[in-house]
Subunit: 219 residues, 2 copies
Protein backbone atom coordinates (compact mmCIF):
# COMPACT_ATOMS: atom_id res chain seq x y z
CA UNK A 1 0.00 0.00 0.00
CA UNK A 2 1.40 3.35 -0.99
CA UNK A 3 1.17 6.41 1.14
CA UNK A 4 -1.35 9.19 0.72
CA UNK A 5 1.30 11.48 -0.77
CA UNK A 6 2.25 8.84 -3.32
CA UNK A 7 -1.42 8.60 -4.18
CA UNK A 8 -1.59 12.34 -4.67
CA UNK A 9 1.45 12.12 -6.91
CA UNK A 10 -0.23 9.36 -8.96
CA UNK A 11 -3.33 11.53 -9.37
CA UNK A 12 -1.13 14.31 -10.72
CA UNK A 13 0.42 11.88 -13.17
CA UNK A 14 -3.04 10.81 -14.27
CA UNK A 15 -4.03 14.43 -14.84
CA UNK A 16 -0.87 15.06 -16.87
CA UNK A 17 -1.49 11.98 -19.01
CA UNK A 18 -5.07 13.09 -19.72
CA UNK A 19 -3.90 16.54 -20.70
CA UNK A 20 -1.25 15.15 -23.01
CA UNK A 21 -3.84 12.96 -24.69
CA UNK A 22 -6.18 15.95 -24.93
CA UNK A 23 -3.52 18.00 -26.70
CA UNK A 24 -2.93 15.23 -29.24
CA UNK A 25 -6.67 14.92 -29.84
CA UNK A 26 -7.02 18.66 -30.39
CA UNK A 27 -4.14 18.49 -32.85
CA UNK A 28 -5.84 15.58 -34.66
CA UNK A 29 -9.01 17.59 -35.21
CA UNK A 30 -6.99 20.56 -36.44
CA UNK A 31 -4.99 18.42 -38.87
CA UNK A 32 -8.03 16.53 -40.15
CA UNK A 33 -9.97 19.69 -41.02
CA UNK A 34 -6.88 21.28 -42.52
CA UNK A 35 -6.31 18.19 -44.69
CA UNK A 36 -9.88 18.51 -45.94
CA UNK A 37 -9.73 22.24 -46.64
CA UNK A 38 -6.39 21.92 -48.48
CA UNK A 39 -7.06 18.48 -50.03
CA UNK A 40 -3.82 17.41 -48.35
CA UNK A 41 -3.72 13.61 -48.61
CA UNK A 42 -0.41 13.30 -46.80
CA UNK A 43 -1.73 15.16 -43.77
CA UNK A 44 -4.90 13.06 -43.86
CA UNK A 45 -2.91 9.82 -43.81
CA UNK A 46 -0.73 11.15 -41.02
CA UNK A 47 -3.82 11.98 -38.94
CA UNK A 48 -5.13 8.45 -39.42
CA UNK A 49 -1.79 6.87 -38.46
CA UNK A 50 -1.45 8.98 -35.32
CA UNK A 51 -4.74 7.63 -34.03
CA UNK A 52 -2.99 4.42 -32.92
CA UNK A 53 -0.91 6.48 -30.54
CA UNK A 54 -4.05 8.07 -29.09
CA UNK A 55 -5.67 4.65 -28.63
CA UNK A 56 -2.52 3.47 -26.88
CA UNK A 57 -2.72 6.43 -24.51
CA UNK A 58 -6.32 5.62 -23.70
CA UNK A 59 -5.41 2.03 -22.82
CA UNK A 60 -2.56 3.21 -20.60
CA UNK A 61 -4.67 5.78 -18.80
CA UNK A 62 -7.41 3.24 -18.16
CA UNK A 63 -4.91 0.75 -16.78
CA UNK A 64 -3.48 3.54 -14.59
CA UNK A 65 -6.98 4.29 -13.26
CA UNK A 66 -7.78 0.69 -12.46
CA UNK A 67 -4.44 0.19 -10.72
CA UNK A 68 -5.02 3.32 -8.66
CA UNK A 69 -8.47 2.20 -7.60
CA UNK A 70 -7.34 -1.32 -6.78
CA UNK A 71 -4.15 -0.49 -4.93
CA UNK A 72 -5.15 2.53 -2.97
CA UNK A 73 -8.66 1.89 -1.73
CA UNK A 74 -9.39 5.53 -2.38
CA UNK A 75 -11.99 7.58 -0.57
CA UNK A 76 -15.29 8.31 -2.33
CA UNK A 77 -14.14 11.70 -3.64
CA UNK A 78 -10.88 10.29 -5.04
CA UNK A 79 -12.81 7.40 -6.54
CA UNK A 80 -14.94 9.95 -8.32
CA UNK A 81 -11.89 11.73 -9.72
CA UNK A 82 -10.54 8.46 -11.09
CA UNK A 83 -13.92 7.35 -12.41
CA UNK A 84 -14.26 10.66 -14.21
CA UNK A 85 -10.81 10.26 -15.76
CA UNK A 86 -12.04 6.96 -17.22
CA UNK A 87 -15.08 8.70 -18.72
CA UNK A 88 -13.11 11.66 -20.07
CA UNK A 89 -10.64 9.37 -21.76
CA UNK A 90 -13.48 7.66 -23.63
CA UNK A 91 -14.79 11.00 -24.88
CA UNK A 92 -11.30 12.01 -25.99
CA UNK A 93 -10.91 8.78 -27.89
CA UNK A 94 -14.26 9.29 -29.63
CA UNK A 95 -13.22 12.80 -30.65
CA UNK A 96 -10.03 11.36 -32.13
CA UNK A 97 -12.13 8.81 -34.02
CA UNK A 98 -14.07 11.68 -35.56
CA UNK A 99 -10.77 13.26 -36.63
CA UNK A 100 -10.07 9.98 -38.41
CA UNK A 101 -13.55 10.07 -39.99
CA UNK A 102 -12.79 13.54 -41.33
CA UNK A 103 -9.34 12.54 -42.60
CA UNK A 104 -10.95 9.58 -44.38
CA UNK A 105 -13.33 12.02 -46.05
CA UNK A 106 -10.31 13.96 -47.35
CA UNK A 107 -9.06 10.74 -48.93
CA UNK A 108 -12.49 9.81 -50.27
CA UNK A 109 -12.84 13.20 -51.98
CA UNK A 110 -9.25 13.29 -53.21
CA UNK A 111 -8.83 14.46 -56.77
CA UNK A 112 -12.22 16.19 -56.70
CA UNK A 113 -12.10 19.97 -56.46
CA UNK A 114 -14.35 21.18 -53.62
CA UNK A 115 -17.75 22.47 -54.76
CA UNK A 116 -16.97 25.61 -52.77
CA UNK A 117 -14.19 26.74 -50.44
CA UNK A 118 -14.73 25.54 -46.89
CA UNK A 119 -15.59 28.42 -44.58
CA UNK A 120 -18.19 27.34 -42.04
CA UNK A 121 -16.72 23.89 -41.46
CA UNK A 122 -13.32 25.26 -40.32
CA UNK A 123 -15.22 27.79 -38.20
CA UNK A 124 -17.14 24.97 -36.58
CA UNK A 125 -13.89 23.05 -36.08
CA UNK A 126 -12.32 26.05 -34.34
CA UNK A 127 -15.28 26.33 -31.99
CA UNK A 128 -15.27 22.62 -31.24
CA UNK A 129 -11.52 22.65 -30.58
CA UNK A 130 -11.93 25.65 -28.31
CA UNK A 131 -14.64 23.79 -26.39
CA UNK A 132 -12.36 20.79 -25.98
CA UNK A 133 -9.59 23.03 -24.65
CA UNK A 134 -12.02 24.72 -22.24
CA UNK A 135 -13.37 21.37 -21.07
CA UNK A 136 -9.87 20.13 -20.29
CA UNK A 137 -8.98 23.38 -18.55
CA UNK A 138 -12.11 23.10 -16.41
CA UNK A 139 -10.93 19.61 -15.46
CA UNK A 140 -7.41 20.69 -14.55
CA UNK A 141 -8.59 23.76 -12.65
CA UNK A 142 -11.60 21.92 -11.16
CA UNK A 143 -13.51 24.95 -12.38
CA UNK A 144 -17.26 24.38 -12.39
CA UNK A 145 -18.18 27.76 -13.93
CA UNK A 146 -15.86 27.13 -16.84
CA UNK A 147 -17.44 23.74 -17.44
CA UNK A 148 -20.92 25.28 -17.31
CA UNK A 149 -19.94 27.91 -19.88
CA UNK A 150 -19.59 25.11 -22.42
CA UNK A 151 -23.37 24.96 -22.81
CA UNK A 152 -23.49 28.38 -24.53
CA UNK A 153 -20.66 27.47 -26.90
CA UNK A 154 -22.43 24.23 -27.75
CA UNK A 155 -25.50 26.24 -28.75
CA UNK A 156 -23.30 28.21 -31.17
CA UNK A 157 -22.00 24.98 -32.68
CA UNK A 158 -25.53 23.64 -33.03
CA UNK A 159 -26.63 26.83 -34.79
CA UNK A 160 -23.69 26.65 -37.15
CA UNK A 161 -24.50 23.02 -37.87
CA UNK A 162 -28.13 23.84 -38.70
CA UNK A 163 -26.97 26.64 -41.01
CA UNK A 164 -24.51 24.31 -42.76
CA UNK A 165 -27.19 21.63 -43.05
CA UNK A 166 -29.61 24.04 -44.72
CA UNK A 167 -26.93 25.51 -46.97
CA UNK A 168 -25.76 22.13 -48.16
CA UNK A 169 -29.27 20.78 -48.72
CA UNK A 170 -29.96 23.95 -50.69
CA UNK A 171 -26.95 23.29 -52.94
CA UNK A 172 -28.05 19.77 -53.88
CA UNK A 173 -29.40 19.40 -57.38
CA UNK A 174 -29.09 17.35 -60.53
CA UNK A 175 -25.34 16.77 -60.33
CA UNK A 176 -24.83 13.41 -58.68
CA UNK A 177 -21.13 13.74 -58.02
CA UNK A 178 -21.63 17.17 -56.47
CA UNK A 179 -24.42 15.68 -54.32
CA UNK A 180 -22.09 12.94 -53.14
CA UNK A 181 -19.44 15.47 -52.16
CA UNK A 182 -21.99 17.70 -50.45
CA UNK A 183 -23.27 14.73 -48.48
CA UNK A 184 -19.76 13.89 -47.33
CA UNK A 185 -19.19 17.49 -46.28
CA UNK A 186 -22.42 17.43 -44.32
CA UNK A 187 -21.20 14.31 -42.52
CA UNK A 188 -18.04 16.21 -41.60
CA UNK A 189 -20.15 18.99 -40.11
CA UNK A 190 -22.05 16.36 -38.17
CA UNK A 191 -18.80 14.84 -36.85
CA UNK A 192 -17.77 18.27 -35.60
CA UNK A 193 -21.12 18.70 -33.94
CA UNK A 194 -20.42 15.41 -32.14
CA UNK A 195 -16.98 16.61 -31.14
CA UNK A 196 -18.62 19.57 -29.44
CA UNK A 197 -21.05 17.18 -27.72
CA UNK A 198 -18.12 15.17 -26.39
CA UNK A 199 -16.60 18.38 -25.05
CA UNK A 200 -19.85 19.11 -23.19
CA UNK A 201 -19.77 15.52 -21.89
CA UNK A 202 -16.34 16.22 -20.44
CA UNK A 203 -17.72 19.38 -18.85
CA UNK A 204 -20.54 17.34 -17.34
CA UNK A 205 -18.05 14.86 -15.84
CA UNK A 206 -16.10 17.77 -14.38
CA UNK A 207 -19.22 19.21 -12.75
CA UNK A 208 -20.10 15.79 -11.38
CA UNK A 209 -16.56 15.33 -10.10
CA UNK A 210 -16.64 18.65 -8.24
CA UNK A 211 -20.19 18.77 -6.98
CA UNK A 212 -21.70 15.30 -7.39
CA UNK A 213 -24.42 16.96 -9.49
CA UNK A 214 -25.53 15.64 -12.89
CA UNK A 215 -26.07 18.56 -15.24
CA UNK A 216 -27.07 18.49 -18.90
CA UNK A 217 -24.92 20.94 -20.86
CA UNK A 218 -26.26 19.86 -24.22
CA UNK A 219 -29.91 20.80 -24.57
CA UNK B 1 -13.74 -6.83 3.16
CA UNK B 2 -16.14 -9.30 1.61
CA UNK B 3 -15.28 -12.91 0.92
CA UNK B 4 -14.30 -14.32 -2.44
CA UNK B 5 -17.72 -15.94 -2.85
CA UNK B 6 -19.46 -12.64 -2.17
CA UNK B 7 -17.23 -11.13 -4.80
CA UNK B 8 -18.24 -13.82 -7.26
CA UNK B 9 -21.86 -13.08 -6.46
CA UNK B 10 -21.29 -9.37 -7.09
CA UNK B 11 -19.74 -10.14 -10.47
CA UNK B 12 -22.85 -12.13 -11.38
CA UNK B 13 -25.00 -9.18 -10.37
CA UNK B 14 -22.88 -6.92 -12.54
CA UNK B 15 -23.33 -9.27 -15.49
CA UNK B 16 -27.10 -9.37 -14.94
CA UNK B 17 -27.29 -5.58 -14.79
CA UNK B 18 -25.32 -5.24 -18.04
CA UNK B 19 -27.60 -7.72 -19.76
CA UNK B 20 -30.70 -5.94 -18.56
CA UNK B 21 -29.33 -2.65 -19.88
CA UNK B 22 -28.43 -4.38 -23.17
CA UNK B 23 -31.99 -5.63 -23.58
CA UNK B 24 -33.40 -2.15 -23.03
CA UNK B 25 -30.94 -0.70 -25.54
CA UNK B 26 -31.88 -3.31 -28.14
CA UNK B 27 -35.52 -2.45 -27.57
CA UNK B 28 -34.74 1.26 -27.99
CA UNK B 29 -33.19 0.68 -31.42
CA UNK B 30 -36.13 -1.46 -32.46
CA UNK B 31 -38.66 1.14 -31.32
CA UNK B 32 -36.79 4.05 -32.87
CA UNK B 33 -36.60 2.47 -36.32
CA UNK B 34 -40.22 1.32 -36.09
CA UNK B 35 -41.30 4.86 -35.17
CA UNK B 36 -39.51 6.13 -38.27
CA UNK B 37 -40.91 3.49 -40.63
CA UNK B 38 -44.49 4.01 -39.36
CA UNK B 39 -44.18 7.77 -38.70
CA UNK B 40 -45.27 6.96 -35.15
CA UNK B 41 -44.66 10.11 -33.11
CA UNK B 42 -45.88 8.61 -29.87
CA UNK B 43 -43.43 5.74 -30.10
CA UNK B 44 -40.65 8.18 -30.99
CA UNK B 45 -41.35 10.29 -27.89
CA UNK B 46 -41.53 7.18 -25.74
CA UNK B 47 -38.10 6.07 -27.03
CA UNK B 48 -36.63 9.45 -26.15
CA UNK B 49 -38.15 9.40 -22.66
CA UNK B 50 -36.90 5.90 -21.91
CA UNK B 51 -33.34 7.00 -22.53
CA UNK B 52 -33.20 8.55 -19.04
CA UNK B 53 -33.72 5.10 -17.60
CA UNK B 54 -30.84 3.75 -19.67
CA UNK B 55 -28.57 6.60 -18.54
CA UNK B 56 -29.54 5.84 -14.94
CA UNK B 57 -28.57 2.19 -15.43
CA UNK B 58 -25.21 3.23 -16.82
CA UNK B 59 -24.52 5.38 -13.78
CA UNK B 60 -25.51 2.56 -11.43
CA UNK B 61 -23.38 -0.01 -13.22
CA UNK B 62 -20.36 2.28 -13.20
CA UNK B 63 -20.79 2.93 -9.48
CA UNK B 64 -21.12 -0.83 -8.94
CA UNK B 65 -17.83 -1.37 -10.85
CA UNK B 66 -15.91 1.25 -8.92
CA UNK B 67 -17.18 -0.09 -5.59
CA UNK B 68 -16.17 -3.61 -6.59
CA UNK B 69 -12.69 -2.50 -7.56
CA UNK B 70 -12.22 -0.40 -4.46
CA UNK B 71 -13.61 -2.82 -1.89
CA UNK B 72 -12.31 -6.11 -3.12
CA UNK B 73 -8.77 -5.47 -4.28
CA UNK B 74 -9.48 -7.85 -7.15
CA UNK B 75 -6.86 -9.92 -8.95
CA UNK B 76 -5.70 -8.80 -12.40
CA UNK B 77 -8.16 -11.02 -14.27
CA UNK B 78 -11.13 -9.86 -12.19
CA UNK B 79 -9.98 -6.28 -12.62
CA UNK B 80 -10.10 -6.85 -16.36
CA UNK B 81 -13.67 -8.17 -16.16
CA UNK B 82 -14.78 -5.11 -14.24
CA UNK B 83 -12.85 -2.72 -16.48
CA UNK B 84 -14.50 -4.28 -19.51
CA UNK B 85 -17.94 -3.87 -17.94
CA UNK B 86 -17.17 -0.15 -17.68
CA UNK B 87 -16.27 -0.03 -21.37
CA UNK B 88 -19.25 -2.10 -22.49
CA UNK B 89 -21.64 0.12 -20.59
CA UNK B 90 -20.30 3.17 -22.45
CA UNK B 91 -20.88 1.50 -25.80
CA UNK B 92 -24.41 0.52 -24.76
CA UNK B 93 -25.15 4.06 -23.75
CA UNK B 94 -23.89 5.39 -27.08
CA UNK B 95 -26.10 2.92 -28.93
CA UNK B 96 -29.07 4.17 -26.92
CA UNK B 97 -28.11 7.75 -27.85
CA UNK B 98 -28.30 6.76 -31.51
CA UNK B 99 -31.78 5.33 -30.87
CA UNK B 100 -32.67 8.79 -29.58
CA UNK B 101 -31.11 10.39 -32.68
CA UNK B 102 -33.31 8.19 -34.85
CA UNK B 103 -36.44 8.91 -32.80
CA UNK B 104 -35.69 12.63 -33.14
CA UNK B 105 -35.54 12.15 -36.90
CA UNK B 106 -39.05 10.65 -36.78
CA UNK B 107 -40.24 13.80 -35.05
CA UNK B 108 -38.32 16.07 -37.43
CA UNK B 109 -39.92 14.39 -40.45
CA UNK B 110 -43.38 14.19 -38.92
CA UNK B 111 -46.21 15.14 -41.22
CA UNK B 112 -44.04 14.49 -44.29
CA UNK B 113 -44.82 11.30 -46.16
CA UNK B 114 -41.65 9.28 -46.71
CA UNK B 115 -40.14 9.64 -50.19
CA UNK B 116 -40.19 5.86 -50.38
CA UNK B 117 -41.05 3.02 -47.99
CA UNK B 118 -38.12 2.13 -45.75
CA UNK B 119 -36.69 -1.26 -46.65
CA UNK B 120 -32.92 -1.22 -46.32
CA UNK B 121 -32.85 0.88 -43.15
CA UNK B 122 -34.96 -1.62 -41.16
CA UNK B 123 -32.80 -4.40 -42.62
CA UNK B 124 -29.71 -2.61 -41.38
CA UNK B 125 -31.36 -2.08 -37.99
CA UNK B 126 -32.11 -5.82 -37.74
CA UNK B 127 -28.50 -6.67 -38.49
CA UNK B 128 -27.18 -4.13 -36.00
CA UNK B 129 -29.56 -5.38 -33.30
CA UNK B 130 -28.51 -8.96 -34.00
CA UNK B 131 -24.87 -7.91 -33.63
CA UNK B 132 -25.61 -6.27 -30.31
CA UNK B 133 -27.34 -9.43 -29.08
CA UNK B 134 -24.41 -11.57 -30.25
CA UNK B 135 -21.91 -9.24 -28.60
CA UNK B 136 -23.74 -9.48 -25.28
CA UNK B 137 -24.03 -13.26 -25.59
CA UNK B 138 -20.31 -13.51 -26.25
CA UNK B 139 -19.79 -11.51 -23.05
CA UNK B 140 -22.07 -13.69 -20.93
CA UNK B 141 -20.68 -16.95 -22.35
CA UNK B 142 -17.11 -15.60 -22.43
CA UNK B 143 -17.13 -16.92 -25.98
CA UNK B 144 -14.23 -15.58 -28.04
CA UNK B 145 -15.29 -17.23 -31.34
CA UNK B 146 -18.69 -15.63 -31.07
CA UNK B 147 -17.14 -12.23 -30.54
CA UNK B 148 -14.82 -12.74 -33.51
CA UNK B 149 -17.77 -13.62 -35.75
CA UNK B 150 -19.00 -10.04 -35.35
CA UNK B 151 -16.41 -8.86 -37.86
CA UNK B 152 -18.18 -10.61 -40.77
CA UNK B 153 -21.55 -9.19 -39.76
CA UNK B 154 -20.05 -5.73 -39.54
CA UNK B 155 -18.86 -6.09 -43.14
CA UNK B 156 -22.46 -6.82 -44.15
CA UNK B 157 -23.64 -3.70 -42.35
CA UNK B 158 -20.93 -1.62 -44.02
CA UNK B 159 -21.96 -2.94 -47.45
CA UNK B 160 -25.59 -2.15 -46.77
CA UNK B 161 -24.61 1.34 -45.65
CA UNK B 162 -22.63 1.98 -48.84
CA UNK B 163 -25.60 0.76 -50.91
CA UNK B 164 -27.98 3.03 -49.01
CA UNK B 165 -25.58 5.96 -49.37
CA UNK B 166 -25.38 5.52 -53.15
CA UNK B 167 -29.11 4.97 -53.49
CA UNK B 168 -29.97 8.07 -51.51
CA UNK B 169 -27.41 10.27 -53.27
CA UNK B 170 -28.86 8.96 -56.53
CA UNK B 171 -32.35 10.08 -55.50
CA UNK B 172 -31.33 13.66 -54.74
CA UNK B 173 -32.47 16.20 -57.25
CA UNK B 174 -34.22 19.53 -57.63
CA UNK B 175 -36.74 19.03 -54.84
CA UNK B 176 -35.31 20.68 -51.76
CA UNK B 177 -37.73 19.21 -49.25
CA UNK B 178 -37.12 15.71 -50.63
CA UNK B 179 -33.38 16.36 -50.39
CA UNK B 180 -33.73 17.35 -46.78
CA UNK B 181 -35.65 14.20 -45.96
CA UNK B 182 -33.19 12.03 -47.89
CA UNK B 183 -30.32 13.59 -45.99
CA UNK B 184 -32.01 12.84 -42.66
CA UNK B 185 -32.60 9.23 -43.76
CA UNK B 186 -28.95 8.93 -44.69
CA UNK B 187 -28.00 10.13 -41.23
CA UNK B 188 -30.20 7.40 -39.79
CA UNK B 189 -28.33 4.81 -41.86
CA UNK B 190 -25.09 6.27 -40.54
CA UNK B 191 -26.33 6.02 -36.93
CA UNK B 192 -27.09 2.35 -37.51
CA UNK B 193 -23.66 1.81 -38.96
CA UNK B 194 -22.29 3.31 -35.74
CA UNK B 195 -24.49 1.02 -33.67
CA UNK B 196 -22.88 -1.94 -35.44
CA UNK B 197 -19.45 -0.43 -34.72
CA UNK B 198 -20.32 -0.24 -31.03
CA UNK B 199 -21.34 -3.91 -31.13
CA UNK B 200 -17.92 -4.78 -32.59
CA UNK B 201 -16.34 -2.66 -29.83
CA UNK B 202 -18.13 -4.79 -27.27
CA UNK B 203 -16.83 -7.90 -29.05
CA UNK B 204 -13.32 -6.45 -28.87
CA UNK B 205 -13.65 -5.88 -25.11
CA UNK B 206 -14.85 -9.47 -24.70
CA UNK B 207 -11.83 -10.83 -26.59
CA UNK B 208 -9.54 -8.65 -24.50
CA UNK B 209 -11.25 -9.78 -21.31
CA UNK B 210 -10.77 -13.45 -22.21
CA UNK B 211 -7.37 -13.45 -23.84
CA UNK B 212 -5.70 -10.12 -23.08
CA UNK B 213 -5.40 -9.62 -26.85
CA UNK B 214 -6.41 -6.44 -28.66
CA UNK B 215 -8.16 -7.36 -31.90
CA UNK B 216 -9.71 -5.05 -34.48
CA UNK B 217 -13.12 -6.39 -35.54
CA UNK B 218 -13.97 -3.34 -37.60
CA UNK B 219 -11.69 -3.07 -40.61
Amino acid sequence: METRSNFHHSLEELKAALLKMGTLVEEAIYQAVKSLAKSDLKLARQTIEQDDQIDEMMINIEAMCMRLIALQQPMASDLRIIGMAMKIVTDLERIADHAVDIAKTTIRLSGEPLVKPLIDIPKMADLAKEMLREALTSYVERNEARAEALAAKDDEVDKLYTAIFEEIVGMMGENRSANRQLTHLLMVAQYLERVADHATNIGEWVIFMISGKRQDLNI
